[in-house]
């Protein structure tokens, strides 16, 4: 990149994944973070936390990803993960219509309870199980279980129309083949408003314009270890 010698501003973005059990939330994260896939992934217990950077032309976004458990008994957890989140990925399984209904519930809850500016992406996962699935696994790796064709139960049209009505980003993905996975995260990174990024100064701070001022206090940073008695001695 032309300007790779000047360090790009870097900001962290808190992102939460929500959706019914077994739709592939953890698999999407695993694909994004480790470029890996596990055929029989264990259900998430409680939640998991991972980080991954995403390099945009003008800045680096560090995603702080909270992957929540979809099982109903963990439903009380969601509020503490979407609190202050700047982005949410609401996932359904496009071979399972009930999972879209659940996804709509999550979208409604986010719109009611989460930060006003939260960027929400609706993601239909397991595209490889459909006949139109780009990069569908069947022939390529010979391991496709539903090799006989199309398991799709939610049309692209239906989900897309809903997403447009609600102002959501929309993607169909396959965590298995990796199709569209990075695109989801890149689109989210691009959609986060500049003003809600932590290093970017908010509009309230016009008196510091022109200067990127580090405001976050680092508890583990390279501070003066001899500060034992403070500045006062």
């Amino acid at each position: 990149m032309a300007d790779s010698n000047t360090p790009k501003p870097s900001s962290s973005v808190k992102l939460v994944l929500l959706g019914e059990a077994a739709v592939g939330k953890s698999s999407l994260v695993l694909r994004f973070v480790n470029n890996d896939f596990q055929e029989n992934k264990e259900p998430t217990i409680g939640a998991a936390f991972l980080t991954q950077k995403c390099n945009l032309p003008t800045r680096t976004i560090k995603f702080e990803i909270w992957d929540t458990a979809g099982q109903e008994r963990f439903a009380s957890l969601a509020p503490m993960y979407y609190r202050n989140a700047q982005a949410a990925l609401v996932v359904y399984d496009l071979t399972k219509p009930t999972s879209l209904i659940k996804a709509k519930h999550w979208v409604a809850e986010l719109q009611r309870q989460a930060s006003p500016g939260i960027v929400i992406a609706l993601v239909g996962n397991k595209l490889d199980l459909t006949s139109d699935g780009a990069g569908s696994g069947g022939d390529a790796d010979g391991a496709g279980a539903e090799d006989s064709g199309d398991a799709r139960k939610v049309t692209t049209e239906e989900a897309k129309t809903y997403a447009e009505e609600e102002g959501l980003l929309f993607f169909e993905t396959s965590a298995k083949t990796g199709y569209n996975v990075t695109e989801v995260f890149t689109a989210i990174a691009n959609a986060i408003p500049e003003t809600s990024l932590k290093t970017a100064r908010g509009p309230g701070a016009s008196h510091t314009a022109g200067r990127t001022e580090e405001q976050r206090v680092n508890l583990n940073g390279p501070r003066d270890p001899n500060a034992k008695e403070g500045c006062a001695c």
């Binding site: 963990f74 009380s76 206090v217 403070g230």
Partner: protein, 492 residues
Amino acid sequence: MESLSDTLWDVVICGTGLQQSLLALALSRSDKKILHIDPNEFYGGAEAAFSLQDTELWVNRASAGSGGLFKSASIAKPEGTTGLSASRAYSLALAPQLIHARSTLLSQLVSSRAYRQVEFLAVGSFYIFKPPQESSQRPSLARIPSTREEVFSTTAVSAKAKRLLMKFMKFVLDYESSPQLEVWQPFADALLTDLLQQEFKMDAELQTYIVTLTLSLDGKISTKDGLAAIRRHLSSMGVYGPGFAAIYPKWGGLSEIAQVACRAGAVGGAVYMLGTGIKETETAEGEVKIQLTSGDTVKTRMLVRAGDSASDEMGITRLVAVIGSPLNSLFEAVVEGAPRPAVAVIAFPAGSLSTVSGKASEYPVYLSAHSSDTGECPAHQSVLYLTTLSTPDANATLNLALDAFLGTITEGQAPSVLYRLQYEQLAGSQRSQSEASIFTFPAPFLSLSFNDSTLQPVHEAWKKVMGDAAVEADYMTFADREGAVDDDDVYE
């Protein structure tokens, strides 16, 4: 999976206030079976932070008598268009304590790796409110110099006062050894002001500066406690960067820490249920049988819960005000290289305000101003948290203090008050209670700065739950979980 009732839980934690949440964090790698419930529909208990809408729900409950240690809550908004933003643009903290850099809470957050999820902001200057000398003048704010450099450079006090302050600072930093010890010991239980007056020959104004730094709620702090508080302040200066002694977690202070701790608990496999409280408990053969308000009955080896019975100690009255000004001048870094502070503290010493009836205010009022960088209000606004001891005049005094403070603002036009929330917080039991299988935490401290004694009962509860498996060196000391650390795999 096993149902709630089929599981024999190692511990049921009731309440998601700071202490219960820290216990969940402490147990998050223990493989214990943990059920964490809260009768509220929100996280954070007495340390919660609310949107405006949630505040309203909370006020309704608190005024209906089901607010635990909170009562007499009310909201006031000006009629008509208020200038307020959407409800969720606010996160008003019920108990916004600042945290001194030397607090053990911070070292535990670091060793437990929970700090990675918290964004800390600097608490900047401490000011004293100066009433006008003549009625034609404006009241003003005087910044308290709290490092040697500041004392040296300040123009607010005389050369003589500077020497006294310097001498006192030096004394405090090493006050527990000879010969300092011999100087203050005779005053240990007397007022700090007695020591300042008799041993340091400070005048009333300088005494007020010093007492303010202790953040004493009644202004009558003892020498023993006062010296400890001042030392904490001075020795916290510069620990995490130049120019500040304390920090504040973004998004509602301790509320954020409680949630981060619960998240760690959930990652560790604890089961969480909001809106679920305890109806009845029955202890038999080392097990507690708990009837939950949800109708389920669960069995556990240990029950840990919040203490919410009031004591006869004096409580505090709070006023939370959202104002339509960013108050930029309060939040400027005063030292080169310092992060821009998001919090400033203004003290109104006892006697500095005169009440409607003409009486001078009996106790100090503390005003903690939070900029929008705390995430507690939108840009161009600020949140002011005012606290004073509960007297019959407390509400009126807090409103006076608010008006007086607004009168000191010289930038732009006088800021408008967009929203007021008032409530009382009762003092509760200061001691934890430990019966065979039930552990009850003390009530939260009412102090303005986090009190490390809050952490002791958490440690005790942890030991009880862990039993023989407790390894002291491992308490709150964890490695980062896999994938949780920033590696340098930058994805293009």
